[in-house]
Symmetry: C2
Subunit: 313 residues, 2 copies
C-alpha cells in the first residue's frame, strides 16, 4: 500500500497543532495540544504523541508517509531547534530524532517561514512558481526563499532571514542585538513601535491616542479603516521600509513573486498597495513591473500544518 | 568520438578573448580580437569567427562540445545581450543565435560575473562549494549567486546584482539612475570617487594630492602601500560599506564563502582584511564565524575564458 497521508506539525509558542493531510492538501484529521506547561521536552513529546497516536492507529501506520514539522529556529539539516526565544525549551533540542523515535516514522523539520513557503508552493499562491519569496509578517518578519524551484537552506540551514536585513542603518534596537533590522519596523511588533513613537509627537491627533500604552497592530488597522490620518501614515511608512528592503533582496535571487502571510499582512490594501508602490519605486530597472505581490491562499489556521506536511512527501 | 574541448569566449568592452579548454581546465589554444571598431554586430561576429575557425579546423569540429560566452548584460535564458552600456552595440543583440549560426555549435551565454562563478566552482576557489557568492570588484560590482550547488538566474535571468543593493540610503548617484548602490562605493570607480571627495577636505594631507584629478584605484593601492593614512582610511571605509552590505545579502542564501575577483580585489590585505572584520561585525549571530572570505584562484587573464567555457559542458 502506498502512503496516502502526511503528518504536519506546527509548533507555536502557545499551541502545537497537527493534522493529517492527503496529497490534494485536504486535512483529514486535526488536533492541538498546548506547547507550554510540560515539565520537560520529553513530557511534551509524550503528550504530543498521545494526541497523535490514536489517529495513526485509525488510519493505519503504513498509510502515513512521515511527519513534517514547522517550528521557530528549527534547522532542516541538523533536525534541531536551537535557542528559540519563544519556545519553553532552552539550548539545543534534537527534535527530529526525538519525534522519529516516538512516532516510528521519518521526521523532517524546518523553520515556520520555510514551511509556509513549501505550503504555498505545494497547495497555495505559489503553485508552479520556481522563484519567489515567502514573507511572514507576524510578531517578527520571517522568510522562505525559493529559487530554481527549491527552498534555499544555505550551507548551514539558516538561509532566509530577510527580517534581519538592516532596513535603517543605526535604526531601532532589535532583539538580535543589532540595530535597524527590518522586523523592528515591519512586523506586528514593529508597527506598534512606530505608533508608540509617533504618538509622542507634539500636537498629535489620532484615534490611537485612546489606546496609548496598550496598542496592538489590530488597533492601527481599525483606526486606518476609520480614516485616521496617523494610522494611514503609519502603514505608508511601514510599507516604504518594506518596499525599500525587499527591493534590495530582489537583486540576489530575482523572484517572480513575493507572497505575504501572517497577522500584519491581513491589513489588506492599507499595507499591500503601498508595498507594491514602494517596491516598484526602489527596484533596479531590469526588475521593474515583473514581480507579483501576492497574498497567501492557504486558510490562516491550516497554513502551517499544510506547509509542514508538504515537507514529508 | 566524445568532445574533449569547450570553447570559452569572454566579451569585454575593449577586447574579446577566446580559448579552447579541456576538461581539466587547461587552455589549449587562445586568441583575441578587438571588441570595438567593427561597423556592425554582423561584422564583429565575422571577425570573431575568422579568428576561431582555424583552431576548430585544427582540433576537429566534433571534438568541441560547444561554446560558452561571458559578456556584460548577457541573459542566460534569452541568449541576448540587452542595453549593455560598455559594449559598442545598441539595443538587444541575439548573441547566442548569431554565434550558433556562425560557428555551427551550441552556444550558451551568461553575464561575466555568473561566468566567473561557474569558473571558480569548476576549476577554482569554489570547487566543491554548494553555497557561495562570487563578487567581482572591477569598474562596477558584479556578482554570481550559487545556492544548492546551482547558479541562481532568477525567474528572468537577471539574478545576482549585488552591486545594486542600496549600501547608503540616498547616497551617491549611480549609473542605474538610483542613489547609494554598492558599486558607487566599492568598485574601482567607487573607491576613486571616495578619494576625490576626501581630497577636497580642508587641510588634507596625502600622497594622493599629487594625482588629484587624474587618480586611479591603483594609485590608492600604491599610496596605502607607502603607508599613506588617507589611502588606508579609504580602504577601511570601502571595506566597511562592503562588509555591511554583504552581511545583509548573507541573510537571503546563507553562503559558506564569498569569493572575490577583479581589479580592486587585488588590493590584497588593505581591502580583504577589513572586509572580513566588517562582515563579521555586521552579521546576524547565527552566521558569525562561518563564512570564508576567499580570493579567486584562477589566473587573472584566463578566469573569464575558463568560466565561460565551463558553461558549455
Amino acid at each position: 500500500m502506498n502512503p496516502t497521508l502526511a503528518l504536519g506539525i506546527d509548533i507555536g509558542g502557545t499551541n502545537t497543532a497537527f493534522g493529517f493531510v492527503d496529497r490534494r492538501g485536504q486535512i483529514t484529521h486535526k488536533g492541538t495540544i498546548p506547547t507550554k506547561g510540560h515539565l520537560s521536552i520529553g513530557l511534551y513529546i509524550e503528550a504530543l504523541c498521545a494526541a497523535i497516536e490514536p489517529v495513526i492507529k485509525q488510519v493505519g501506520h503504513r498509510s502515513v508517509v512521515g511527519a513534517g514539522v514547522g517550528a521557530p529556529n528549527a534547522n532542516f539539516y541538523t533536525g534541531e531547534i536551537a535557542f528559540a526565544p519563544n519556545l519553553p525549551w532552552e539550548g539545543i533540542i534534537p527534535l527530529s530524532k526525538l519525534l522519529k523515535d516516538a512516532l516510528n516514522m521519518n521526521v523532517v523539520i524546518t523553520n515556520d517561514a520555510n514551511a509556509a513557503a513549501i505550503g504555498e508552493m505545494t497547495y497555495g499562491a505559489a503553485k508552479g512558481l520556481n522563484d519567489f519569496f515567502m514573507v511572514t509578517l507576524g510578531t517578527g518578519v520571517g522568510s522562505g526563499i525559493v529559487a530554481n524551484g527549491k527552498l534555499i537552506y544555505g550551507h548551514d540551514g539558516f538561509a532566509g532571514e530577510l527580517g534581519h536585513m538592516i532596513a535603517v542603518r543605526d535604526g531601532r534596537m532589535c532583539g538580535c542585538g543589532r540595530k535597524g533590522c527590518l522586523e523592528t519596523y515591519a512586523s506586528a511588533t514593529g508597527i506598534v513601535r512606530t505608533a508608540n513613537e509617533w504618538l509622542e509627537r507634539e500636537g498629535v491627533n489620532s484615534l490611537l491616542l485612546a489606546k496609548k500604552g496598550n496598542l496592538t497592530s489590530r488597533d492601527i488597522y481599525y483606526a486606518a479603516n476609520d480614516g485616521d490620518a496617523l494610522a494611514l501614515e503609519i502603514f505608508e511608512f511601514t510599507a516604504k521600509i518594506l518596499g525599500q528592503t525587499l527591493a534590495d533582496a530582489v537583486t540576489i535571487t530575482s523572484p517572480q513573486a513575493i507572497v505575504f502571510f501572517g497577522g500584519l499582512s491581513f491589513s489588506g490594501a492599507f499595507l499591500m498597495d503601498p508595498i507594491r508602490k514602494y517596491l516598484e519605486q526602489n527596484l533596479l530597472k531590469i526588475y521593474k513591473n515583473k514581480i507579483s505581490i501576492l497574498h497567501s491562499e492557504l486558510p490562516d489556521s491550516d497554513a502551517a500544518i499544510l506547509g509542514a506536511s508538504a515537507l514529508a512527501w
